[in-house]
Symmetry: C2
Subunit: 208 residues, 2 copies
């Protein structure tokens, strides 16, 4: 199946967004980026991937301030971001990598405010995947190493971190339908069904 | 095409949700309810449809208070709501009519918190239709009798009224993806494309 789109997937924790994105990329035969962006950022910067991993999709307080007072030249690449906190450095590196990738190929990318980073790209499909809290807690316990007794709290906390990250870097409110082209509640869907819904959406929007 | 679903459509003003709902019902060969609910409510209550029309999808202040202090028996039908403001009476009548309809047939319904009213119905598909503000303003000027100079303000005001109505009666925040099964940005879609997306969604969720 061919694809002339870049698809960004924003997902609530435990909604299955990662699996859906991965399966979608496989069906479309295009690359899939999630944690892979950390490896790419690490390779470009020389920072150990393990260090970046701790800070992935977590907001810092300093970036907007640094940008507003012009502490560094945003367009000048990596050397200029050396003094920033790790999460801001990672955001800027991932942002740059996502833009570079978008100039040369189509792909599916999960998280990392990619919908915001690529907002001016003309063949973008922005998808939001979410689910009821109970099904997300169940999935989190099944798939991640989370203590069942604290699972609900952990899911809410993980979501809050993603929401803060998204709002901090994009200035938009996480979870509002307006930010996306298509929002899918995955509560009662298999990964395959969610993939089919996105594929048929892409198919329909291409027919004018 | 057969359909074993009730489809509720919540829509931003000017997003084309009414037209999408109407075309969807036609394709599925099931009834469509929007303003039709006013005629049904008017017929049941004896109030003139023109009176109800003024108050349609507008929140009052009194209903929650009245419910909380037990001023009337909610389950007892229409005679007990005679002392309430018109918008509350209309909401209660529409609520009752929507539930009665859901017991006997499948349909497409637009607005009126139907997603909330029918929340326990097992074959419900809750759709949210929204669009960029500029395209909604354009549609509002094209289709409704709105002064172009004040059109943006009119659209924002109309949305605010719907949001208040929705939040007031459902206790949920308007526009959050979480409230729906499927949210579609209609900005760059024709009515027909939006209908196709909903049809293929229904088709996919029915395949287990």
């Amino acid at each position: 199946m061919s694809c002339n789109k870049i698809i960004t997937i924003t997902r609530q924790f435990g909604s299955g967004g990662h699996e859906i994105g991965e399966a979608l990329a496989k069906r479309l035969e295009i690359p899939f980026y999630d944690k892979e962006l950390i490896s790419l950022a690490a390779k470009k910067s020389g920072v150990a991937p393990e260090v970046f991993e701790q800070y992935d999709e977590k907001a810092a307080n300093s970036l907007l301030y640094s940008l507003s007072v012009g502490l560094y030249n945003y367009g000048n690449g990596f050397s200029s971001v050396g003094d920033l906190p790790v999460n801001d450095r990672l955001y800027i590196l991932q942002h740059k990598i996502i833009k570079e990738l978008a100039d040369k190929e189509n792909f599916v990318v999960v998280g990392r405010c990619a919908d915001y980073v690529l907002r001016d790209h003309k063949n973008l499909v922005k998808v939001f995947i979410y689910a009821d809290i109970d099904s997300r807690v169940k999935r989190a316990v099944d798939r991640h190493d989370i203590d069942p007794a604290r699972s609900k709290q952990a899911v809410i906390k993980a979501d809050k971190a993603r929401a803060n990250y998204y709002s901090f870097y994009s200035g938009k409110k996480w979870g509002l339908a307006d930010n996306y082209d298509l929002c899918i509640n995955s509560t009662n869907l298999s990964t395959q069904q969610a993939v089919e819904i996105i594929l048929s959406y892409i198919d329909i929007i291409d027919k004018k």
